[in-house]
């Protein structure tokens, strides 16, 4: 973007009038700042609930925007799976822990002129506050830009915020601030009635907060809230349960121009965190007066709080009975909502906020999409946007699947449609939770009785929207559903019509349906699959019929202005309407299928790979087309790819785009399991219909590894045959199609065994079982086993080390190992939950050789073209076993790429386009001299009642990375980055089960040597005493008091190592203890290897200070485009 030309463009009409009129801005007041040269941006750190890849999106935009303006950008972010930490995004990139001390170290070294703290969520904001208050910013002459300390505190401090609202005559719910439990109870008494809302100050996603319906709940939530708040401060607030909830996204520039980018209405009324609510943009049930009132309030609030420039969001509650308005909160930074608003309107809030922070005013920046009009306007949209959150309660047994003011969702989908119904149904099928839309399916709620249904309507939960369907289907009236759920009747009536349409469809047949009626159905967002269900046909039959009637989607553009001006960015969504604006061209082009909503096991790493694919293929001269449904991502930024389709990743929606675009290639390898599952159906479709690419280069093809090879790797029987042929060892096991099968296999291979359903992602429902009875319990409770859904039973390799390998293969059969990672946690802990290091530290060369040979053989045998990830286990005796092979991009690709300094995903994309590894100058495995460590980050604190023990089921939401010359310091840095507060001295609590007892002595000694005291319960203590190791005994929880939990509560324990025996007592006692540790933020280690690595890390921390080194200092930045010349 050329500032000069754009400026003249915007101002030109004005300057024509200049002789009579214009009084131009005085440049000393506004305009780009030239006194700043270096600007530091803080990222958001690892993906956690409440802070996900939307901050990669905002941070990346900010880095790009500031560099375009000629500023040098220094970035700190511990999350490697981000585009913003790509070495070419910022000038100096620190993938390192983000504590105030370490950030100060970087400030001292890099000497930035300014710090932009509003792009990295709550993490960055809190860090900025700490740095400002410690005097570090002043010491090094760093100016806070975007939001000043005063404004941040005014918005974030509950008491200051309430006072500020009072100042400008706005109402907030009756409430009080408590810093102790007693104070909280006093406030509760004053407010007088339950339910009460508890909101801790300075936390993200409402962590530690909640809704209390009685005294007991109140006490427990206040406790966790006080612990979670950075300032030990909670707001106890009268509940506005059932009020309508709205959000407005506001932008302000340094000249005090303020615009509203988007209004958002929550379908879930007050009481559910907005991140967990189904939301709709623009607001649907406000008149102009009511909307303008919220707009006026938003502007008054951003001014009063003093956010001098950038984006903010303001949340309102509106009483449905009389329209009374209360202010709930405001965020003085870009947020998840602003990412959503950006995608919903096409107005790039973070990019604009970055430009405003360096002095531009809104009218000096052109609107990217129209190019001719300035950014000082308010987007008008001519469609409806729906966002639906995605949850993962099933991964946290013991936690209640209930929604409160503390955010619990792990991802979201967004969809656009010309009607609410269309966007809502598209968003629901985008969620990839097995729903093809709303209703038209046999859902579990239909079997519920009225009591169950009413409960589900009354108490917010992830499936409430489906309970509404079941209730309507069973004849409950809208008024009653409203009374129970307080979901606005406008939405309920819209939903009711969908039930009516379903009823109508069910009463007829597919063959009779007319074109006009099919249009009416499709206009309401029904998928072919739903229509197939209602008409008792198949999805393919519906598609055939639909296309024969000429009922095909038309694609509309997102243009910020409701078509008032021409749009220059092909950002599109489907609708059933008359005119299609897609205008596909006949360039060489590639369709990239994204990963859909984030979930545990499939998150930002895959979006990173999709973006890299797009960047590399653009460099190689292709037009890239992105299709994705996740609003948080960089991939759905309209300037990541040449063209963007914001669409559900279902076969229907993907084929529609293929039919329209007819690309040369389709890429399914980078978006995780989502596009991979579509590979075979797409292949069948292409084989059957043989569409020719618009570029004239022959038929439309799936690029990279063939769907058949992907299937061969996933189908257990086919895969076994291949491994037999290649003589690659794998743990003994088999496929069980019945309980008897499973028991027989277990008997043959011997316990313990790993059991899991076939075709799973993220270790869903995977378990390690130790005897027949546990196996039977598993088969009865966790999964269904039948011939249709077989279960895999494999020998569990106790104490084995797990290895992850990412490898790259070109279409000429050349294979290069990208990276071999050694896991710190033993095999059996899901690879996504395990810390790992690259290069390996303890693996014998012979084993590495076996791994390299097997990986290469397998890649060749499967005819892989692109990436493949393999997981191996190495037993204590040095035997190597292949656990799994996935011929696709894996979660570790960004980590490996950053560890070795080669963008593997880009290479993979180029390889798929026909380049050889030789062309890319990547012919040899790179073994770096420095050590990179990846550590996982878990959301346990959001799921009260769940156990923290690691297992084969993946539960981490994100990861951090650290790079150092030594393993020990890299590990220590990774722990700090992951939020583990490693103690340098104090007391370690040890509790090891019998299987891990052999390691006890070594662990105990290593901590003793570091000066720690050891505390243990009877069994562990006895063992240590026998070895003559000093240990203090403490009672187990059931043995009386004071017991181990008391010590935790009293702050007498600083680190805990607990390996679970998994027996009944542990389920009660051990679990409770681990939860105590979680509540009191005492680091808990649950594996032997983790404990040893921690000891090494602590040793390193004690002996030398952490040194922050920029990524650019480890290796030269690879410029892919230069390889392509």
């Amino acid at each position: 973007l050329n500032r000069k030309s754009s400026l003249t463009h915007v101002l030109k009409p004005v300057s024509e009038l200049a002789d009579t009129t214009t009084k131009p801005f005085s440049p000393e007041i506004v305009g780009k700042r030239t006194d700043l040269k270096k600007i530091m941006i803080l990222g958001a750190g690892p993906i956690v609930i409440g802070q996900a890849c939307e901050f990669d999106y905002s941070g990346t935009q900010a880095c790009k925007a500031l560099r375009e303006e000629g500023y040098e950008v220094i970035l700190i972010n511990s999350n490697p799976a981000t585009i913003m930490t790509d070495p070419e995004t910022a000038n100096r990139t620190y993938i390192a822990p983000m504590t105030p001390e370490l950030v100060e170290q970087v400030i001292e070294k890099e000497r930035p002129d300014a710090l932009l703290p509003t792009m990295g969520g709550q993490t960055a904001l809190n860090l900025a506050v700490a740095l400002a208050e410690s005097g570090a910013l002043e010491k090094y002459g760093v100016e806070l830009i975007g939001a000043k300390l005063g404004a941040i505190k005014k918005a974030e401090d509950r008491e200051l915020f309430k006072d500020a609202m009072k100042n400008i005559g706005l109402k907030t719910p009756p409430s009080g601030i408590g810093t102790t439990l007693d104070e909280c109870f006093d406030i509760a008494e004053k407010i007088g009635e339950f339910p009460l809302i508890i909101r801790p100050a300075f936390t993200l996603g409402g962590t530690g907060g909640g809704i209390a319906y009685n005294k007991e709940e109140f006490e427990s939530i206040c406790k966790s809230g006080l612990a979670a708040s950075a300032t030990s401060q909670v707001l106890v607030e009268k509940s506005l349960l059932g009020w309508k909830e709205y959000e407005l996204e506001v932008m302000r520039d340094l000249a005090d121009n303020v615009v509203i980018i988007c209004s958002i209405e929550n379908i879930d009324p007050m009481g559910v965190h907005t991140g967990d609510s189904i939301t709709v943009a623009p607001a649907q049930t406000l008149t102009d007066r009511e909307y303008q009132r919220l707009r006026d309030y938003s502007i008054a609030i951003i001014r009063e709080i003093g956010v001098e420039c950038g984006g903010s969001n303001v949340q309102f509650a509106v009483n449905p009975v009389d329209g009374e308005v209360m202010i709930i909160e405001m965020n003085p930074r870009v947020s998840r909502s602003s990412a959503l608003a950006s995608k919903a309107t096409g107005f790039p809030i973070a990019k604009m906020a970055a430009k405003l922070s360096v002095g531009y005013t809104l009218d000096q920046i052109p609107n990217d999409i129209t190019r001719k009009t300035p950014a000082s306007f308010e987007p008008s949209i001519d469609y409806v946007v729906t966002k639906i959150p995605r949850f993962a309660f099933e991964k946290f047994p013991g936690s209640q699947p209930l929604l409160t003011t503390q955010m619990k969702s792990v991802g979201e989908s967004m969809a656009l449609g010309r009607t609410f119904q269309e966007s809502f149904q598209k968003a629901l099928r985008s969620l990839e939770c097995g729903f093809s839309g709303w209703g038209c399916a046999k859902i579990k709620e239909l079997d519920w009785d009225w009591d169950q249904l009413k409960y589900s309507l009354r108490v917010p939960n992830p499936d409430r929207i489906h309970a509404i369907y079941a209730a309507m289907k069973k004849g409950m009236k809208i008024d009653e559903i409203y009374e129970l759920s307080m979901v606005d009747k406008w939405f309920l009536t819209q939903l009711k019509e969908l039930v009516d349409v379903e009823q109508y469809l069910m009463s007829g047949t597919l063959s009779e349906i007319t074109k006009e009626d099919l249009y009416e159905v499709k206009k309401r967002g029904f998928s072919d699959k739903q229509i197939a269900f209602a008409t008792k046909t198949t999805e393919e039959e519906v598609r055939t019929k639909r296309i024969s009637l000429g009922v095909v989607p038309s694609y509309k553009r997102v243009d910020t202005c409701a078509a008032e001006f021409e749009a220059h960015t092909p950002y599109m969504y489907s609708s059933y309407d008359v005119e299609c604006e897609s205008a596909p061209n006949n360039k060489k082009k590639v369709l990239i299928l994204g990963g859909g909503p984030n979930r545990i096991g499939q998150g930002i790493e895959f979006d990173y790979c999709c973006c890299h694919t797009s960047f590399a293929l653009q460099d190689a001269g292709y037009e890239t087309i992105m299709l994705n449904s996740n609003p948080e991502t960089v991939s759905t930024d309209y300037d990541t790819s040449d063209r963007l389709y914001f669409e559900p990743l279902t076969i229907e929606d993907v084929l529609n785009v293929i039919d329209l675009e007819k690309p040369d290639g389709i890429i399914v390898q980078f978006g995780g399991q989502t596009p991979l599952k579509l590979a075979l159906p797409i292949k069948h479709y292409l084989d059957k219909h043989m569409p020719m690419s618009l570029s004239g280069a022959g038929p439309v093809r799936i690029w990279g590894t063939s769907p058949d090879s992907i299937d061969a790797a996933e189908d257990r029987e086919r895969f076994n045959a291949i491994l037999d042929e290649l003589k690659i060892e794998q743990p003994k096991g088999g496929i069980a199609k019945s309980e008897a099968d499973a028991l027989a296999i277990a008997k043959e291979v011997g316990y313990p065994v790993v059991v899991r359903p076939s075709y799973v992602l993220g270790g869903r429902a995977m378990e390690i079982v130790y005897d027949d009875s546990r196996l039977i319990t598993y088969l009865e409770n966790a999964v269904q086993v039948d011939p249709e859904r077989p279960v895999l039973v494999d020998k569990y390799l106790s104490d084995a080390i797990e290895i992850d390998v990412d490898t790259l293969t070109d279409s000429y059969g050349n294979v290069v190992i990208g990276g071999i990672m050694e896991h710190i946690e033993q095999a059996g802990v899901h690879s996504g939950d395990s810390a790992c290091m690259l290069p390996t530290q303890t693996i014998p060369a012979s084993c590495l050789q076996t791994i390299r040979t097997w990986t290469t053989k397998l890649a060749k045998k499967l005819n892989v073209c692109g990436l493949m990830n393999c997981q191996y286990a190495i037993t204590t005796s040095g035997d190597v076993f292949l656990l799994e092979a996935n011929p696709r991009a894996s979660r570790t690709v960004p980590f490996v790429s950053k560890a070795i300094g080669h963008p593997l995903a880009k290479y993979a994309a180029l390889v798929m386009s026909g380049k050889s590894l030789k062309d890319l100058n990547f012919e040899k495995e790179v073994i770096p001299k420095h050590v990179s460590v990846k550590e996982a980050v878990f959301p346990f604190e959001k799921f009260q009642g769940c156990d923290v023990i690691l297992g084969p089921e993946m539960r981490s939401t994100g990861e951090v990375m650290s790079i150092s010359s030594e393993f020990s310091s890299a590990f220590a840095m990774a722990q700090i980055a992951a939020g583990q507060k490693l103690p340098l001295s104090g007391t370690v609590f040890l509790s090891l089960n019998d299987m891990t007892k052999p390691h006890l002595e070594k662990i105990a000694v290593s901590f003793l040597e570091l000066g720690f005291k050891i505390v243990a319960t009877s069994g562990t203590a006895h063992f240590l005493e026998l070895k003559g190791i000093p240990v203090e005994r403490v009672l187990k929880l059931h043995e009386g008091r004071p017991h181990a939990a008391d010590m935790v509560a009293n702050g007498q324990i600083h680190l805990m190592l607990i390996t679970s025996s998994g027996d009944a007592l542990d389920q009660k006692d051990g679990r409770q203890l681990r939860q105590m540790a979680l509540a009191y933020k005492v680091p808990v280690i649950t594996t032997v290897a983790g404990a040893l690595a921690t000891a090494e890390g602590i040793k390193s921390l004690k002996s030398s200070a952490i040194k922050m080194t920029a990524l650019q200092d480890f290796f030269e930045v690879k410029n892919v485009s230069s390889l392509l010349v």
Binding site: T20, T21, D382, W490, V499, S507, D517, A562
Partner: protein
């Protein structure tokens, strides 16, 4: 005002939850858009314009400036909040018809008293829905405003309707005389306290204002009244001499429909009043002032209709997000020396406000009274008060 859920029978044939296409919009460019009717039936001709406001359809329906026009709302979900007695901008609906993508099947709002469809039927206004409003908007953007015919009469052929659309033109027609009040009246209502948003800047003094009604929106009157004006509303044909006899502190020339060149009598009235008392023009009033000052007005390609237009107030340097509704504009190059362009529309650089200090003239092309739209420019009313105050002091 309640939801009217459709119920499906438990047995027998299930009715379609939608109605069939029973209306057409035919545009002078020859395009024919099947639609579904709500509101009044019949066949009517008007100029088609689009409005990009997300909210405020009721205010738009009752804004007299839309006389002679079909209004297409680009927001696809219309009717969600029904209508209520408070949000009226005049005593009736002056537009010829409403064109929307989706008509809400229910209403939800605590102030709602009636559905949009019932309201239009009562007021004999045509409405159509279920057409590709975005496609039509794109056409208007490319080709400019088009004359169209809306019809629910199956007996009329497409060709007849097309001929009809081509036989009519809005340029040069005096639409103001139809919408202006017939005799003077006093206005007393202020903005209701619940909705007033800017109560800090009143000085408690009272000013006598005459408001020329060229199709005035009541919110202009409410805002003036809130700022302390005592207002007499007079018809568009009210003689200037009569107005001066009433010895007002200031005169407001209101918004109104159509082409300023079609009402030369109004320009003459404005001319007679210029320099005698402070005057304030809004929209049509601004265009009439432009002409009266010797400038030219011209018809824009598709005009400005919406609530999101950025206007730069050249005096403060601030950007105001404004409500706009006009198809004609003043050409600033044609204005005599001494006239200052005070406001510029940043989307296209067009003139959005004028001032001629010598004669105590101020005017805005857009709508500081909002309703619908943002309140950013409300300060303009205070400026008018200041203008009257200064003038009073100096005289």
């Amino acid at each position: 005002c309640s939801t009217s859920p459709l119920t499906f029978p438990t047995s027998g044939v299930v009715e379609k939850p939608w109605t069939s296409y029973n209306a057409r919009l035919v545009l002078e460019d020859g395009s024919i858009w099947p639609a579904k009717s709500f509101g009044a039936p019949g066949t009517r001709i008007a100029e088609l314009v689009f409005n990009t406001s997300l909210t405020g359809y009721q205010e738009i329906l009752t804004d007299p400036s839309y006389a002679g026009q079909f209004v297409l709302m680009t927001n696809p979900q219309i009717g969600n909040t029904g209508v209520n007695p408070d949000d009226e901008e005049s005593g009736q609906c002056f537009l010829t018809g409403l064109v929307i993508r989706n008509l809400s099947i229910s209403t939800s709002n605590w102030r709602c008293t009636k559905t949009l469809a019932d309201y239009l039927t009562e007021r004999d206004i045509m409405g159509v829905y279920d057409l590709d409003t975005r496609a039509i908007t794109r056409r208007l953007r490319e080709d400019g405003s088009l004359i169209g015919v809306l019809s629910t009469e199956q007996s009329k052929t497409d060709d007849e309707l097309l001929q009809m659309s081509r036989s009519w033109d809005i340029v040069g027609i005096d639409l103001i005389s139809d919408v202006s009040c017939k005799s003077p009246y006093e206005w007393v209502d202020k903005t209701n306290a619940e909705w007033d948003f800017n109560t800090n800047s009143r000085d408690g003094k009272s000013y006598k204002v005459i408001a020329y009604d060229f199709g005035i929106k009541q919110n202009i009157l409410r805002r003036l009244s809130s700022y302390g004006c005592q207002i007499t509303v007079v018809p568009s044909t009210f003689p200037a001499a009569e107005a001066l006899k009433m010895n007002p502190d200031g005169i407001l020339f209101s918004n109104g429909p159509g082409d300023p060149s079609a009402v030369p009598y109004a320009v003459e009235t404005v001319k007679e009043l210029l320099g005698k008392v402070p005057v304030y023009g809004i929209c049509m009033g601004h265009q009439l002032l432009g002409q009266a000052l010797g400038g030219k007005t011209f018809k824009m390609k598709f005009g400005h209709h919406g609530g999101n237009h950025p206007v730069r107030n050249n005096r403060t340097g601030q950007v105001e997000i404004s409500a706009q509704n006009h198809n004609y504009a003043v050409d600033p190059a044609s204005l005599p020396g001494g006239v200052e362009v005070t406001h510029v529309n940043l989307n296209d650089g067009s003139c959005a406000g004028l001032s001629f200090p010598e004669m105590n003239v101020m005017s805005l092309q857009y709508h500081p009274e909002a309703s619908p739209g943002p309140h950013d420019s409300d300060n303009a009313f205070r400026e008018f008060i200041e203008l009257m105050k200064r003038s009073k002091q100096s005289s």
